[in-house]
């Protein structure tokens, strides 16, 4: 039954996309050959279905029954409106493909398609697919709509393709979603061949298709629940539609609108793919006779698909471009310093020498997770395509899609460029036997686990690529559970977490799990501001540099009549990761007694106003942090609401911000802040608190019931050996992951074994 459900989920989504697309394409069908209509219809329909799913998710009506109703309505509409008939009739086709190259194409395409089918229909085990792409799809499917995406940065990315995965998932679960991604790749293959035929180079079209289809990275990515090939297909769709628009003397506005829709869909699919919409705008402004009108139409249609995602993020986080651009739109969901550190990592991965990057992305594929294949060493030859107009257009679009690549040098981030590159390369090398030879050799080298395949002979076997053709798992002759356990340690970890914790449990860890297979709330340290704060609290139990050892004491010469105190950071640090941290702010009267904190006090800070209470909660393990590099002018402020006598202000801080210095501004008269003369002393003390237990106690208070710790990660030995000091209890271990339960805190008693 499961294979049928998978195939139904896949086919239903495909059919619905085609039906919706047919309604749109029927209006522009005259501009196309017969063969071009369906691949374009699929892309347009997928954009429409993605938007429909977005609205359903927003309304919490994303259910299988609603989708079936929409499917029926779309079928009736397409039938009654004559859209289906218009798709089938009245169009001429391309001239037949040249026989020998076509036979070769089929000989290569069909075996690869079998491998694609098996890998996509087998249980989903890809890292990102099983963690966040389908993790969020699963959440939405269970909740019937959007469910707290701000709790992880991945949930804040645009999810236009995930919406289509959701359609498939509702019927066929994970594998159906992965197959939908494969469908986009097939669509792209079809379009490449169509483009070759349209420009009179059918062999180049077929060669380009095989260059793409047999690339090792494309194979594994295109058969996983990823979004890269879908993004590439959408981008090429934009290019294709505008090429048709430019070709047509009437410049049909419908083609422009369709291109605009796909341009917006590219943003909805993947932020960085929005450059294709930019390319479209430049192309239209360059070639249009009515520039303003055409540009406006294109931009407006793009917004139809792009704006919903911006609005969602604006509502959830106050940052329409979340999880990026947090400096422009400061928010409580993602820390500015995280974005900087994360972006820094994405720009370099583990590539030590950037001159090796071409070799890395084409042949090695270890540091940048995946190789395109030896053929792509020939990419510079694509420049020969500049000789003809189509070549120039293709390479121009390739350049645009390449533009965001330095922001993330993972090989996958080259995929949006590939359709243009392979087409240009095939045009540049437009010699029958040369192309046929390259198609054959490239396919041979890309074939999974073929002993003579070079990938297997080298260290590159560790790169991300197909590991066989799991047709038995695809048909579920091998049980899904058995396959997943055999192939994925992270799956075993996810199942172990589920079995060792109660439903609804929150688990804090520094490594993600395949959320698509877990029913627990895994809070991964780096994935959101909240999780980073929880991690900071946890590590306060472990890391002395986070302890409130530094006490800055400001003694005021005139204690009377203080209404407001502003503590201002004054040092411009040169250490990029040095934040300004305050564990506690304490005020003392002339008698040396601390002023009890009153609920009428108003606390404020800039930046990070959301966490200011953590500097006033009397906990040694929580602290207000700037969460961006310390700079002069940052402040933490207390408005007492009434005059107080304050002789001493203590700022309890830590050694992990050694360069930060402070001064005090005081308001005595309403609205007037004055810098005061003061004596400043610094003391280094050893906290007398039980820091480990305080950390877990605070976590427990914040709803975290468990800690997941990999055996080789920071602090793992300490957690294991000092369970009593932490107040935790090891409840199990799986594939290098230890799970600890945080025991309820009972003062004066030992709770751990």
């Amino acid at each position: 039954m499961q294979p049928l459900a998978i195939l139904f989920g896949f086919a239903f989504t495909l059919a619905l996309c085609c039906l919706l697309g047919a309604i749109a394409v029927s209006r522009i069908a005259a501009a196309m050959y017969r063969e071009e209509r369906w691949p374009i219809a699929f892309l347009l329909g997928s954009a429409m279905l993605s938007l429909i799913l977005f609205l359903l998710c927003a309304a919490h009506q994303a259910k299988a029954s609603v989708l079936v109703a929409i499917g029926i309505a779309a079928a009736v509409w397409a039938w009654k409106s004559g859209a289906l008939a218009a798709m089938m009739q009245g169009a001429k086709g391309f001239t037949p493909l040249p026989r020998a190259p076509f036979v070769l194409f089929l000989l290569l395409f069909l075996p690869f398609s079998f491998a694609y089918w098996a890998n996509s229909m087998a249980p989903e085990i890809s890292p990102d697919g099983s963690s966040y792409h389908l993790g969020w799809v699963k959440r939405y499917a269970e909740a019937g709509g959007f469910d707290a995406p701000e709790s992880s940065m991945y949930g804040l990315l645009s999810q236009g393709i995930e919406m289509l995965f959701l359609s498939a998932y509702l019927f066929g679960k994970h594998s159906a979603a992965a197959m939908v991604h494969w469908a986009f790749l097939l669509d792209l293959i079809w379009l490449l061949i169509c483009f070759g035929r349209r420009i009179g180079n059918p062999l180049s079209g077929m060669a380009a298709a095989i260059f793409l289809y047999a690339s090792p990275l494309v194979c594994i990515d295109g058969s996983s629940a990823y979004i890269d090939l879908a993004t590439a297909a959408i981008g090429f769709g934009v290019f294709y539609l505008l090429y048709l628009w430019d070709l047509n003397p009437q410049r049909p506005v419908e083609l422009l609108l369709a291109a605009g829709l796909l341009g917006g869909f590219s943003y909805a699919a993947k932020y960085t793919a929005a450059v294709i919409a930019l390319w479209a705008a430049v192309f239209v402004l360059w070639n249009s006779r009515r520039k303003l009108r055409d540009f406006t139409l294109l931009a407006a249609m793009s917004l139809v698909l792009a704006a919903p995602w911006m609005l969602r993020n604006a509502v959830l986080t106050e940052n329409p471009l979340a999880p990026f651009f947090n400096r422009w739109f400061p928010n409580a969901a993602i820390h500015i310093i995280f974005e900087r550190q994360y972006s820094e990592w994405l720009r370099h991965y583990d590539v030590k020498n950037m001159w090796e990057l071409p070799l890395e992305v084409t042949v090695r594929g270890i540091a940048t997770t995946g190789a395109l294949g030896y053929l792509f060493l020939l990419t510079p030859a694509a420049l020969l395509a500049l000789r003809r107009r189509e070549g120039r257009l293709l390479l121009g679009a390739a350049l645009f899609t390449l533009a965001p690549y330095p922001l993330n040098i993972g090989t996958r981030f080259l995929i949006p460029m590939l359709p243009f590159t392979v087409m240009a390369l095939a045009l540049a090398l437009d010699q029958k036997y040369l192309l046929m030879a390259l198609m054959t050799i490239h396919s041979f080298l890309g074939w999974p686990n073929w002993p003579p395949g070079l990938l297997k002979q080298t260290a590159n076997q560790h790169a991300w690529h197909w590991k066989g053709i799991p047709y038995k798992a695809a048909l579920r002759w091998e049980k899904e559970e058995d396959f997943l356990r055999r192939r994925s340690d992270s799956y075993k970890r996810a199942r172990a977490l589920d079995s060792m914790t109660e439903p609804g449990a929150k688990i804090l860890g520094q490594n993600g799990i395949p959320e698509a297979y877990s029913n627990r709330d895994m809070l991964v340290g780096y994935q959101s501001a909240t999780n980073e704060t929880l991690t900071d609290i946890l590590y306060a139990g472990l890391d002395e540099s986070r302890w409130p050892r530094l006490i800055w004491i400001h003694k005021l010469a005139k204690p009377e009549g203080v209404r407001r105190v502003r503590i201002v950071q004054t040092f411009a640090t040169e250490v990029a990761d040095e934040q300004w941290n305050i564990t506690e702010v304490r005020f003392f009267g002339p008698d040396g007694v601390e002023l009890p904190r009153e609920s009428s006090w108003k606390l404020h800070s800039n930046p990070n106003p959301w966490d200011v209470q953590m500097a006033f909660d009397n906990s040694p393990v929580t602290r207000w942090r700037s969460w961006e590099t310390a700079r002069p002018g940052m402040f933490v402020e207390t408005d007492f609401g009434a005059p107080k006598n304050i002789a001493r202000v203590e700022i309890h801080s830590s050694w992990d911000n050694p360069h930060c210095r402070t001064k005090i501004l005081i308001e005595r008269e309403a609205g007037k802040l004055e810098e005061v003369r003061e004596n400043v002393e610094m003391q280094d003390i050893r906290p007398q608190f039980w820091m480990r237990r305080e950390a877990t106690r605070e976590l427990l208070q914040r709803g975290v019931g468990y800690l997941s710790v990999m055996h080789d990660e920071y602090g793992s030995q300490d957690f294991l050996l000092a369970q009593q000091e932490w107040g935790i209890k090891l409840v199990g271990e799986e594939s290098g992951q230890r799970l600890y339960r945080i025991e309820p805190y009972q003062q004066g008693t030992t709770t751990a074994k």
Partner: protein
């Protein structure tokens, strides 16, 4: 079209106006526990019934068993992390079984720290035993993992499956 563009632009523009929270009241005050309340850790001592014991085993102690004791092989070894080397004792609780003693006769156990001999213990009769001996600081490595092993000179070889049985171990590790 113009209306759509304007509306979208307005909505986007509005979303760009980030509303920062103005102020908060002081939160509920925590009452942190003092260091004097810290319980003594026993994690340096591995009891065979503890679930985490398996993670420290290097060899010759079967994993996955949750009984109070386990049969060892000829050289049961565990690996423990210590942050300081001062004042540790090698602690072991074990039994010499009648079943093996009848075949092996008296046995000698050698207690090793990082492959260096700490002590030797000869057993001429069966029974339950406890071993406790201070470890010279130079035998331990601070801030790193240390191997503790007990080597038995004669093992019982089971006829059924050829398994080599040393003695019965209940606890092994470091104490203070």
């Amino acid at each position: 079209v113009v209306k759509t563009v304007l509306t979208a632009a307005l909505l986007l523009g509005a979303s760009g106006c980030v509303k920062m929270p103005e102020s908060y009241a002081p939160p509920v005050q925590r009452k942190p526990a003092l260091a004097g309340e810290i319980p003594q850790s026993t994690r340096h001592l591995l009891r065979m019934s503890d679930v985490e014991t398996d993670t420290f085993i290097v060899q010759d102690i079967p994993k996955g068993d949750r009984n109070q004791w386990r049969w060892t092989g000829p050289r049961p070894t565990v690996r423990l992390y210590v942050s300081s080397t001062a004042a540790f004792k090698f602690h072991a609780e074990y039994s010499i079984s009648d079943a093996t003693f009848q075949r092996t006769g008296p046995v000698t156990l050698r207690f090793l720290v990082n492959d260096k001999m700490l002590a030797e213990q000869r057993h001429d009769k069966t029974g339950n035993f406890t071993f406790d001996k201070p470890i010279p600081e130079q035998l331990l490595k601070a801030n790193s993992e240390n191997d503790l092993a007990i080597e038995v000179d004669k093992v019982f070889i089971a006829e059924a499956d050829g398994a080599k049985l040393g003695f019965i171990l209940s606890a092994i590790g470091l104490s203070r």
